[in-house]
Subunit: 290 residues, 2 copies
């Protein structure tokens, strides 16, 4: 047979993530024997061993790791199909807009105002994300559109429209010597001995090596700056979330950051199209006065 059911993929993902049939079964709300049987059937249908059942637990084979990755994206796609269809069926549905918390605050406020001013425009649910969550939300259909930032975010696979281009500033603790400068260069902020760059977790949750503090959220980062433990280089508009204890100094040679509005390719529903149009109009008025 050739066709997999999503049930089989869900089961496999649970086992592959838990690496333990018992816990996986519990998570799935079924008993362990049917799960064992389902995985065995799956292996048989694919003609591939997916798990090494050694003594004491299970390990993924190479084919298993491939399937785990592929199954996750496939399940994402199925889930997205469900959510997008439900949204499409509901004429009152609010559009879900994902954006990085604290970033592009002015732009977002103006966008929401502009949409509210339009008669008949769909209401908008704003989903505030940390770091690079927007892509996942778009892909899984939990968000209809997102504000993202080139070149920080990975825009691969989305249609986008530029909304705003801006320079970057260094955010420094107020008392620091560099904070009194009118402008800085990347070379100057790159290696400040007493303000090492903070480290963000990788996708797997581990942290790269380095001298800087480990952070997971923007609030942590903001506080660390206020405490004089680190500095960061961010788009100028992110000054919106700077604290009184922060000082922002333009970094003249930092690459420009473009705020874009992004949506899943070829899923331009009328509501999304209208929102993109409204946003683009904002861009045209925003460009003269940045």
């Amino acid at each position: 047979m050739d066709h997999l059911e999503t049930r089989e993929l869900r089961y496999f993902v649970a086992v592959a993530e838990e690496l333990n049939f018992g816990r996986a079964a519990e998570r799935l709300g079924i008993a362990q024997p049917p799960l064992s049987r389902a995985i065995r059937q799956l292996e048989h249908r694919l003609g591939a061993r997916l798990l090494d059942r050694n003594r004491r637990g299970v390990a993924l084979t190479h084919a298993g790791t491939v399937l785990l990755r592929e199954a996750r994206t496939a399940l994402d796609a199925v889930g997205a199909a469900v959510r997008r269809t439900r949204r499409a069926a509901d004429p009152q549905r609010p559009l879900a807009l994902a954006t990085k918390a604290g970033a592009s605050h002015q732009l977002l406020r103006r966008l929401l105002d502009a949409v509210a001013a339009e008669p008949g425009a769909a209401p908008i649910d704003v989903i505030l994300c940390e770091v690079g969550e927007q892509a996942g939300l778009l892909r899984s259909g939990r968000a209809d559109v997102a504000l993202m930032h080139h070149p920080f975010d990975d825009l691969a696979g989305f249609d986008t429209e530029a909304l705003y281009v801006e320079g970057q500033v260094a955010l420094l603790p107020a008392g620091h010597p560099l904070a009194s400068r009118d402008e800085l260069t990347l070379a100057e902020v790159q290696n400040v001995p007493d303000l090492p760059i903070a480290r963000w977790p990788r996708l797997d949750g581990s942290y790269p090596d380095g001298p800087g503090p480990e952070v997971r959220t923007q609030s942590q980062l903001a506080q660390l700056v206020a405490l004089g433990k680190t500095l960061l280089v961010i788009p100028a508009s992110s000054r919106a979330w700077q604290w009184p204890e922060h000082v922002a100094v333009p970094v003249v040679d930092a690459p420009d950051v473009t705020t874009v509005i992004a949506w899943p390719p070829s899923s331009r529903s009328p509501a999304v199209a209208a929102l993109v149009r409204t946003a683009s109009a904002l861009y045209d008025t925003a460009r003269p006065a940045p």
Copy 2:
């Protein structure tokens, strides 16, 4: 309930494409009543009407068109999961490389030679495509890697590495006045009255309006040029498939075309990685002598 099974998606796609339960059931190899029931259940689970059952046939609702699109990509993803897992499980698996028939012929030949010269490299199956088929093959897991051409092909959603940059030439029928020129400009070839640009089908199979002949394959196009019915502007290396009746004249101001090797993001299996490395090495040797 929240989880759809791929079976339901397959059934819906069949109905949505046939717009007729009987034919859809036949295509699926089941009887019509169970199919009706399945679709009805699907609508109930999604809480959305997908089809308008008027007298005499069915029509898609808005939600239905959304689900049709989403279901296709979701089924693609599931199919890709199956194929990629099977490939991963087979140590002898040949890598499937998709490329436009006739394009980048020299590069392909050198790539295949280079791979063959490497001890222990996986064998390569070449899939020759028309126009933009490569993206679909990559997405559905039928191909592991593809040679694509920026800016012609849509590279969104893939990781790529540049292999070759080249200018473009105008391909003209040998007897035509322009064929005797040493070089041309875009403006000159854009609107030649007796050689209108050919028209390619859109995704839905329909053709845009215009004076040029309708074509579906490169061979058709090549023959039309030889017959003095049209001209085309193509990458210089595509001269490989020019006929004796053709003349190629460089178009000096046409944008450069970059041949890239593309693969699905984050699915860089060892074999794919090795192939990309071999190809990149070719690029370095190819650049000095284009």
